[in-house]
Symmetry: C2
Subunit: 389 residues, 2 copies
């Protein structure tokens, strides 16, 4: 097989990727970042639905480009006999098949796990869906918004006393994609000793539930129902955003030492001496009053001033960065988290996100390969199959 | 070694876990859910800092219980000579060491990766920190709130036109924990063929940047700066919460067919015929007007009525569930996502969250083991070391 574009621990692993839009492609982007070769199998004509989701630039979907770099593309009609043979030949060489259709779709295509495991006993079959392959809602469709709402995530996100809002990114999809990767990697690890394939079944709703462990177990065990939390932590104080002279900053001073340092830096060293602010539990009980007291001090100076001063004093704090500021953050840059792809034939490049998993033994990829055009790698993939048969 | 409590693909893998509070313990909880044996090494006296974070029940921290079930605990003072020998003996048997100290702390203890890799060349050393092991902010402390603020996540979460809020759960920690698992599993997979250890370096900020791929790449390539998004998707319409007669519901009808179905179900079949609502792009341009039109229709009936009707019509929709409702959701129950631990000696049990990764070949764990008391497994761990020496 052709070399994968990234040097990483999954070198030599081939992923056949039927997934579309977000959860599945985010998973396979992550696997490509770890060194796997990812071959996208797309519907002829239109390809991955994400190719039609905006915003667009020079006719390309940025939504698609951001999660499909470092991949190859071949267009195959799984209901066409010739294409189907090509797909089966690819399956025979693949380590992992990824799909995110609704449960049942692959079975109706004759490509369900029950059939494939007979023909390809070493294959890892990884499926992501809204609700999973079992349970009363299994065959219902879901999208990020639906699982953010149904998991309770929206009910605790928003202004205190205000309406629920959605976390600003599609955490429902991204979390499911990440857990799908975990299942795939665990199965690959096991297969190294058993030579046996595996079924991995991940539901977006389940993954949101996993991320909701704190409010769910807290309510289940105490009966105290949480609502939208604003910027505050549910039990640690002070741990929220505060107003300054010109904007806001966040401060996380969750233990007594940090609170004493904070009180000193704000010129109010007496605060920890007051009974009402003397422990995390007391500060939690008087969280509104403490907010007033701290904002009184913080209103004297600007956010930038305070961040310099508090950081020097060892108090965890930071600005509420807007997206343009994030791109300029020296730490983000130093960690190679913002990347320009290699140029396309027309010389254009895209900005994409780096791999957040850093290894001691593998160099970071300097220039990710831009997302493929639909069917871009047909020739090389068919040639690979021909020479290896 | 003693059997791990969960049957899964990581059977036989031993994790030595020095991590505290959230990102690290969430990672090792996930690994335990995949079949690994996890031994928490805690500070004598107080143990994991999370043991002091509320809410509390019967003197136990629910915060701690929710992310430390299925683990063992031994208290060791890494500056004490005898304890240090025990720790080294455990290291010799471990496959993975997990820590989430600030970079440099383990080096000062003489337990940094550079030293350990000489003594334990097969060891996988997995470190999670706020900013990672490199870059100008490397040695600064960070907590969830800080990375949600610095990554831009807060800047796009909240009411449209309103103030930034924090996603309701600590996605900064949970995401870092999940990526840490990915790095560990990829390194374990590789080690199966190379017999070589690995360093895994994960930063909370980097992981939030990875989850921010859509707004960051969209802004970097278009220059359009996003603000708080309310419940809306940034480019797909309709895809948000709408008011009904009694509350709200979410609807995700992102393509033309679903929009036509939705218009029909709402008794407004003419909507897709109108030029202004005729495509996703047009609907995006007229998103406010469409909201008014849809809410006019939705205000006629209750959320429950609409969900029954729209679900029957195949339109993705759902309630904005509160945490109590989530616990009763039949799909969540059917997927075994809410679990009662096995009883403690005093007969008490805790509610914890199930494993969201389902495998074809492994049964689900019926009763997770409750989180350990500090040093609960000292005797069995020391006995294990003695018999195997």
């Amino acid at each position: 097989m052709q070399n994968a574009p990234v040097s990483g621990p999954l070198e030599g692993v081939t992923i056949l990727d039927l997934s579309r839009v977000l959860a599945g492609p985010f998973a396979t982007m992550t696997l490509a970042g770890l060194g796997a070769r990812v071959i996208k199998v797309e519907v002829p004509g239109t390809g991955d639905d994400a190719r039609a989701i905006g915003p667009f630039q020079d006719g390309r979907s940025l939504y698609f480009e951001g999660i499909n770099f470092n991949k190859e593309s071949i267009a195959l009609d799984l209901k066409d006999e010739t294409d189907r043979k090509t797909f089966e030949a690819l399956l025979a060489k693949a380590d992992v098949l990824v799909e995110n259709f609704r449960p049942g779709v692959m079975d109706r295509l004759g490509l369900g796990w029950d059939e494939l495991k007979e023909r390809h006993p070493k294959l890892i079959y990884a499926a992501a869906s809204g609700f999973g392959r079992s349970g009363p809602a299994s065959d219902q469709p879901a999208y990020d918004l639906i699982v953010q709402a149904m998991s309770g995530m929206m009910s605790i996100t928003g202004e205190r006393g205000g309406a629920p809002v959605r976390a600003g990114v599609s955490v429902g999809d991204l979390t499911a994609g990440t857990y799908l990767c975990l299942g795939i990697l665990a199965a690959l690890f096991r297969r190294a000793s058993t030579c046996r394939g595996e079924l991995v079944d991940v539901a977006m709703l389940d993954c949101q539930i996993a991320f909701m462990e704190e409010p769910l177990t807290s309510y289940a065990n105490t009966g105290v129902l949480p609502g939208p939390r604003g910027t505050r932590h549910p039990s640690i104080v002070p741990f929220q955003a505060y107003r300054t002279k010109d904007s806001q900053l966040v401060i996380a001073a969750g233990n007594d030492q940090l609170f004493a340092k904070l009180a000193g830096a704000l010129g109010k060293p007496e605060l920890p001496e007051l009974e009402k602010f003397s422990s995390v539990r007391k500060r939690f009980e008087h969280v509104d009053e403490l907010e007033t007291v701290l904002e009184e001090a913080l209103s004297e100076r600007t956010t930038d001033d305070w961040i310099a001063e508090l950081t020097a004093a060892g108090i965890p704090c930071g600005p509420i960065a807007t997206v343009d500021q994030v791109l300029e953050n020296p730490q983000v840059r130093a960690r190679n988290m913002i990347r320009q792809t290699a140029p396309r034939q027309d010389g254009s490049r895209s900005t994409v996100i780096g791999n957040p998993i850093k290894f001691g033994s593998y160099p970071e990829q300097m220039e990710p390969l831009p997302a493929p055009q639909l069917d871009q790698h047909r020739e090389s993939i068919l040639a690979m199959l021909a020479t290896q048969e």
